[in-house]
Amino acid sequence: MTFGVVRFPGSNCDFDTVHALRDVLKRKTVLLWHKDHDLRGVDCVVLPGGFSYGDYLRSGAIARFSPIMQEVRAFAAAGGRVLGICNGFQILCESGLLPGALLRNKGLKFLCQHVQIRVENVRTDFTRALRKGQVLRIPIAHFDGSYYAPPRVLREIERRGQVVFRYCDPDGEVTAAANVNGSLNAIAGVRNDRGNVLGLMPHPERASERLLGSADGRGIFESVILSLERRGPARRRASAAKKARHDR
């Protein structure tokens, strides 16, 4: 299978994500350019962290208009796997591919630190290699990571099991202190209703090697690999995306 990592101007975790996928997990990984209309036949699109287009307006607000995002939308609509990390999560919310929005952290400061997240749902293509209730130690690094959704939407995503990760303490308890950015319901990651799009604020690519303090993030990438390689080559999805583009 092949991963595609989108490079927006201002992306700064693009190479880190490529490193984790290609050098650590040994999967073919290509960079996709924001000005292109071509997903190069990849099986999973990753929107990396960073400050796309400078994020001077609102995180992810400009990136949603980029040419590549038209293709990502069509790809997702056709069932293609899309993973948004940090800024990628913000872009997916801005694009309407995921519910909710990411607001400023509650302390109004950028936060870079290791946090723990608890796996809430393992019946997704991004968590099937993990255990329900498993606690992952993964770093965050963001200013706008406080998850918000209107009450009705929040109820709905909780009911449908769309909350995939929650901030918790090392024992897996969801506490106010562990919810460092003040996210509603301590939400750290959500998926779309269909389950093929996931966004999360923590950086699994920074937790893919023990050398760097934790390899807990690998499970997320390994889940994607497991999902796609078990279902055989994803040419089907690539052609579905192509079809979706023609249909537009």
């Binding site: 201002g10 880190d16 870079c112 050398l211």
Partner: protein
């Protein structure tokens, strides 16, 4: 008409003006005067410092590029080089803390990537007034968020540094930013304009009216009118810089250019004349082709603007389209604004008229150097005799006060605002003795540290500077790295004051002695004079940045205790040295006495021994003893251990309890080892002629120090940890 008042505005003396006229063979016009003003400023011209800086050793087997370029370059083997430098942005950061610090980061990053290296780490040395002063707190908040705002966006991790507090920085904070880059040895680029007929391209952001005379501003004292200087501070755009970085690295990687120079202090003026001078060429520039952000700019303004995120590139005419294509892809301007010519003159035109015509050599290389009058520093004010310093009844309480003092307290409040992990190379998080970065695809790793204790340098500049170098090297040795090169940022007061020049001369002497002893070259740096506000000078504050190399990352050692039962070993000897200590300052309110003595030879042996022990796998944790002495070091090793392990230590000897705990005697390191390795470790120390002694064991939940069966100190680790952890955030409203 050029008169005395115009010269004053340009911070040039009448003698300097006469020299300019002689060198260029005519009376300069206003634009030309502006050029000399910035290029001959203290900031760009090193007028007062040059004669002294010659003392520093600059040569070594690894040196690829020494002082004089944008940054120093050292060979680290396997076809790789490191590129590094430190720079001050003190004055702008006081006037406008956020933008001052942000553009400080932007500037040093450009210094690194302009040489073809990808910046892989930033560290900063920050000094503020006491955090209970609201203005100092607001300056600190602005500076920290400015560094975060720029560094985080551009995706270069801020992996460490230091933060100190002292009244002398209340009206003159110090913001020194260090950057390290990594490059292939055969792809290093220099700021040279070579080859007549080659084109000069301007790339990056448009030129505006910001920052005009920033370099001149940094070369004068501040008074009450400082507020009016706000327009002199530039505004940073990290997004633009990120684009510029990627585009520049791409054209360099593809070998499309001849030379490149960033536009930092003195902007277009500095970059054009320096590139021409270094290439031994002349340059013609048409200012009408310079992308401008606002209408109606004069040639004076265009040339002296310090707008950020700009670069000057020299390329052969055939490669111009390819270069422009790369920049267009990153949505950046890259117009040709001039050409390299024979003859060594800079000829700059504006609306068809030549507005500058001067020899570049005069501007760049012939700035006068001054042997300013010197008054040797007085001996340090004597500390009161020990008999007059009452030993505290409650030593545990004294330790808690030391641990909670802003200078020693945990700095996570600062570091968590910085992205210190982007680029996935950061092996030791901030707080370790040195930042450790892996090199992807290599067994080797890099370690970096910044150091300087300004109270020591105030009390005794020469000893203080020796200690700064020694301690930086010791920090590196503590993680298992061998120092390979030095950069320095020398922050001093007004060099026209003989006492300040006396401090400077002594500090440079001490630094040179230490660098020679450790065999490490100084590859560049920065001098920041005129750190005076309302007539008061800061403490002389030399900050040392040292890069080290770890042969085998698998052997790197961190400061935290590893396992209960491990032996605690104190390497080095303790003396009755409380002068300049954090303990005297915090617990007794005394800032006096001679700083601890340092024997550079012993220091070198100690570090060699430590490196050998680490290389042999004998050391499980190592932490250098510095501010707060042995007691603070024991506490920090406990705080950094994953399970907050305590320790039980027994001390002896003739010294008073508080001296044993808090003296800052040099050449000491606290290490732990497996019990089974203790004898080997002590034998190694003995063989190397380094004092070392087993003083206790790791374990328990308390920091316990005893002496001849008597408890000297006993504090639960958790309690001490809270005090240390909350020391700094307590001053700020937002939760930690």
């Amino acid at each position: 008409m050029i008169d005395k008042s115009l010269l004053d505005q340009h911070a040039l003396t009448e003698d300097e003006y006469r020299l300019i006229v002689e060198l260029i063979g005519k009376e300069p016009n206003l634009v030309e005067l502006g050029i000399f003003s910035v290029m001959w400023s203290e900031h760009c011209g090193y007028k007062s410092s040059r004669v002294h800086l010659k003392k520093l050793p600059t040569e070594g087997a690894r040196v690829v590029q020494g002082p004089g370029e944008n940054a120093g370059v050292l060979d680290i083997g396997e076809g790789r080089v490191v590129v590094f430098k430190i720079e001050s942005h003190n004055h702008p950061s006081f006037i406008e803390p956020y933008q001052g610090a942000a553009t400080g980061v932007g500037g040093i990053l450009r210094d690194i990537f302009t040489m073809g290296a990808r910046p892989i780490a930033v560290l900063d040395s920050l000094r503020f007034g006491p955090p209970d002063d609201p203005m100092s707190r607001s300056v600190m908040e602005g500076v920290v968020s400015g560094i975060a705002g720029y560094g985080n966006s551009i995706g270069v991790p801020t992996v460490g540094g230091e933060v100190y507090f002292d009244r002398c920085y209340a009206l003159n904070p110090l913001v020194n930013v260090f950057c390290l880059g990594l490059a292939d040895k055969d792809k290093i680029f220099l700021a040279k304009a070579e080859g007549a007929g080659n084109k000069v391209l301007y790339v990056g952001a448009k030129t505006g009216r910001d920052g005009i005379h920033g370099a001149t501003m940094a070369s004068a004292e501040f008074g009450e009118e400082t507020e009016h200087k706000r327009p002199n501070v530039q505004v940073g755009d990290p997004f633009k810089e990120k684009l510029l970085l990627e585009a520049c690295l791409e054209v360099m990687d593809r070998g499309l250019i001849v030379g490149i120079q960033d536009m930092g202090a003195a902007g277009l003026t500095c970059s054009t004349t320096e590139m021409a001078a270094k290439g031994g060429m002349g340059i013609v520039v048409d200012l009408d082709r310079v992308p401008q952000r606002e209408a109606g700019m004069t040639p004076y303004e265009i040339l002296l603007s310090e707008s950020q995120e700009r670069m000057l590139i020299v390329a052969t005419p055939e490669n111009v389209p390819a270069v422009q294509e790369v920049f267009a892809r990153w949505d950046l301007d890259a117009p040709v604004i001039g050409e390299v010519v024979e003859g060594g003159r800079a000829r700059i035109s504006f609306k068809g008229e030549v507005v500058v015509d001067i020899p570049v050599d005069a501007v760049v290389n012939l700035c006068p150097a001054y042997e300013r009058p010197i008054v040797p520093p007085p001996p340090p004010p004597p500390a009161p005799p020990l008999a007059e310093i009452p030993p505290p009844a409650d030593l545990a309480g004294a330790l808690l006060r030391v641990l909670g003092s802003p200078t020693i307290a945990d700095k996570q409040w600062v570091f968590r605002q910085y992205d210190h992990m982007v680029q996935v190379n950061t092996v030791f998080l901030p707080g370790a003795d040195a930042a450790v970065l892996r090199i992807k695809g290599s067994k080797e790793a890099l370690a970096v540290t910044l150091d300087g204790n300004a109270l020591y340098t105030r009390l005794d500049p020469r000893t203080g500077a020796r200690i700064a170098v020694a301690e930086a090297c010791r920090n590196l040795a503590a993680v298992g790295a061998r120092p390979i090169g030095v950069t320095n940022c020398l922050n001093f007061g007004n060099p026209e004051k003989p006492e300040v020049m006396g401090q400077f001369e002594q500090a440079v002497t001490g630094m040179a002695e230490a660098c020679r002893t450790f065999g490490i070259p100084v590859t560049g740096g920065n001098v920041s004079f005129y750190n005076d506000t309302e007539g008061l000078s800061i403490h002389p504050t030399p900050v040392i940045g040292i890069v080290g190399l770890i042969d085998d990352l698998g052997r790197a050692v961190s400061p935290g205790f590893k396992a209960a039962g491990d032996a605690v070993v104190l390497i080095g000897e303790s003396f009755e040295e409380l002068g300049g200590s954090e303990y005297l300052k915090v617990v007794h309110g005394v800032e006096a006495g001679a700083p601890p003595a340092i024997d550079l030879e012993l220091e070198r042996r100690t570090q060699e021994m430590l490196l050998e022990a680490i290389g042999a796998g004998l050391v499980r944790s190592a932490h250098d003893l510095s501010e707060g002495g042995l007691a603070a070091a024991l506490a920090e090793c406990a705080f950094h251990s994953a399970r907050k392990l305590g320790c039980e230590v027994g001390l002896d000897g003739p010294l008073r309890d508080d001296v044993l705990l808090f003296a800052e005697s040099q050449s000491r390191v606290l290490v732990t080892c497996r019990k089974a390795d203790l004898a080997k470790l002590l034998a190694l120390a003995a063989r190397r002629g380094v004092p070392a002694k087993a003083i206790g064991r790791v374990g328990g939940t308390a920091l316990a120090v005893g002496r001849a069966g008597r408890t000297v100190l006993r504090v639960p680790v958790e309690k001490a940890f809270r005090v240390w952890k909350d020391g700094l955030p307590a001053y700020f409203k937002s939760p930690a």
